[in-house]
């Protein structure tokens, strides 16, 4: 089983090689991905993936940390299990169902809200570029759906991390007259910083690889656009859409895209594990 990952890399690189060697630097640094014109620059797709994942993190991280704090510090005992179960259920929903729901039930509402925001800020510089006109499908829509999908994983890791905060430290802070919020800021957060970083990285890894839900709501237009309410495309969504009918050059370019995605997510995941393991060492002693 340890051979599987190496095998994945080797076979995929072999299939991707024709595109890489033929296109060279224009593959990795090209700003146009238009397969019908033979343009295979992956930057718009990389850009889309990063933007969507970052939007997802911006929304999911505060929500997840809030839920974890609620479960570990604030909620009464009887409420804790139901809250955890609810968040876990969110993780059990297949991603294509998220996508279907978002496509039919959310996009019209998103379009109205986005356009209202866009017209409200249309006279303010910078903001009128970032929040431009929208057709519903957009970076922002995909990011919001992703936020919902990565909340369970970030919540479960941060919850574990908060549980490792020593009870004595917390009681000490409370005994000195701190309010619960002051105790959380003064004791829980400093103790948990590394673990929270790890949780965020894990969430980022998930978000970058998420495919179907994003494919349904992002609009399928590979472009580097600052308008977060505009259409875009991500790497996994493009692979998913095109691979089954692709001709040989496009196929090879898509498989190459898979390699790039794989390497990126592996890097993110390894650094996440590093951060979490470092926390374990500090608070539970070396394994």
């Amino acid at each position: 089983m340890l051979l599987v990952l190496a095998l994945i890399l080797v076979t995929m690189i072999r299939q991707a090689w024709p595109a890489w060697s033929e296109l060279g630097a224009s593959y990795f640094f090209g700003t146009e991905w238009i397969p019908s014109q033979g343009k295979y620059g992956i930057l718009p797709l990389v850009y889309g993936t990063l933007v969507v994942s970052l939007i997802a993190l911006v929304f999911a991280v505060p929500i997840s940390i809030g839920i974890s704090l609620f479960v570990t510090e604030v909620a009464p005992e009887w409420l804790r299990r139901p809250v955890v179960t609810t968040v876990d259920l969110l993780a059990a929903v297949p991603s294509v169902v998220f996508g279907l729901w978002a496509f039919y039930n959310l996009l019209p509402g998103f379009q109205a809200v986005f356009n209202n925001i866009a017209s409200a800020v249309s006279s303010i510089p910078v903001l009128n570029v970032v929040f431009g006109p929208s057709t519903g499908s957009s970076f922002m829509s995909a990011g919001l759906i992703l936020a919902l999908m990565i909340t369970p994983i970030i919540t479960s890791v941060t919850r574990e991390v908060f549980l490792t905060v020593p009870e004595n430290d917390k009681s000490g802070a409370l005994a000195l007259g701190a309010t619960r919020w002051e105790m959380i800021r003064g004791v829980v957060f400093p103790h948990s910083f590394g673990g929270m970083t790890g949780a965020v990285m894990l969430g980022l890894g998930r978000a970058m690889g998420e495919t179907v839900a994003v494919a349904l709501v992002i609009g399928a237009v590979p472009q580097i656009s600052l308008n977060l309410f505009g259409v875009g495309e991500t790497m996994p969504a493009q692979i998913f859409r095109q691979l089954s009918e692709a001709g040989s050059t496009l196929r090879s370019a898509l498989i190459g895209l898979g390699v790039v995605l794989l390497v990126l997510t592996i890097l993110v995941n390894i650094s996440a594990r590093r951060a979490v393991v470092a926390v374990d060492r500090r608070f539970k002693g070396a394994p």
Binding site: F70, L90, V93, P94, V97, L100, T265
Partner: protein
């Protein structure tokens, strides 16, 4: 001789009581504390409300299809057909009325091929990944412990858990489908992709469960002169079986809901194909395919397939949770 200890006064003065109740806190600190607690509740609602709304819309838009008998037994209609013009919806076609279970309708709608395909791919994946995963975990915990190979495998399993599912699909596509051309697309290829996704989950959850088995059991068995492999098979695995089952079921549930790695390695059919070879289809692939097809009829088919899939995944998840809770108690 009983010296009476003077009862120490545990009574606190009114000032002290006031302070303990937090009455002497400055308004700003109190307000901040309340705001923070309120935000945490809001954070939970931000996750819970979409879940409830989504559940409600999947059920309300999918139940008519799922409740009809033909849904579970009949082939998928081809939405491009002229007698299924896109402006028709399920109720026009006689669905949802008690007098008609699809039999007298001119068009019989069903999802049987996708249901069969889902069960087939998931069972195939489970048959590949679960035994392999359990063997891997047994090696890690009973034999390898902390040697470099075990550490390396553990690390790889962690990394593999993070590999995007679409990349697994691309991998199986390159090693299985490409060499075989059109014939390569099959339930077997999809099962392979899902097995790759399940394997690391099964390995890690099984290892966690083996860790919970008390060492006393292993030592007692070893003291009777038993080999490690026999101890593992007769003592350790039976003790951990409930936890292993629940971890494996969770992996199966996750695999059943996967779409990305399945769509481009499985092909497309509208009739039941109960064999591993040849093109097939799954519920998740149908949800995506029907959504792409567009039109009211296809939309109803997609919602029906979504509800069916959610029911299957939810049932597996709940069974797994129940088993693991019983395991916790015993």
């Amino acid at each position: 001789m009983s010296a009476t200890i003077p009862a120490r006064s545990t009574q606190t003065g009114p000032d002290m009581q006031e302070a303990l109740r937090g009455g002497t806190l400055s308004g700003g600190r109190k307000a901040k504390n309340h705001v923070a607690s309120g935000l945490m509740v809001l954070a939970f609602l931000a996750a819970a409300i979409p879940l409830v709304v989504m559940g409600a819309s999947v059920v309300s838009q999918g139940y008519r299809a799922v409740l009809s008998g033909s849904w579970w037994t009949q082939p998928i209609p081809e939405t491009g057909r002229s007698d299924l013009a896109n402006n028709q919806n399920l109720s026009d076609l006689g669905f949802g009325t008690p007098s008609d279970a699809g039999a007298s309708s001119s068009v019989v709608l069903g999802m049987a091929p996708a249901i069969v395909g889902t069960l087939l791919t998931v069972l195939g994946a489970a048959a590949l990944a679960i035994p392999l995963g359990i063997m891997g975990a047994v090696y890690l915990h009973e034999y390898g412990k902390n040697n470099w190979l075990a550490k390396f495998i553990r690390f790889m399993a962690d990394v593999m858990t993070g590999v995007p599912s679409v990349v697994m699909g691309v991998f199986i596509y390159t090693i299985w489908v490409l060499p075989r051309g059109v014939d390569g697309k099959s339930a077997w290829a999809a099962a392979l992709a899902l097995a790759c996704l399940m394997l690391p989950i099964v390995v890690r959850s099984t290892e966690e469960m083996l860790r919970l088995v008390p060492d006393n059991l292993r030592e007692a068995s070893a003291a009777l002169g038993t080999h490690t492999w026999k101890t593992t098979v007769k003592v350790v695995l039976p003790a951990a079986i409930a936890g292993i089952t629940s971890g494996s079921l969770l992996a199966v549930a996750r695999a059943a809901g996967e779409t990305a790695p399945v769509v481009f390695v499985i092909g497309f059919v509208t009739t039941v194909n109960a064999s591993f070879s040849g093109a097939n289809t799954t519920l998740s692939a149908q949800i995506y395919g029907q959504q792409q097809a567009g039109g009211v009829l296809a939309q109803d088919l997609a919602w029906g397939a979504a509800l069916t899939l959610v029911i299957i995944v939810l049932a597996l998840t709940l069974i797994a949770r129940r088993i693991s809770r019983r395991f916790e108690l015993s």
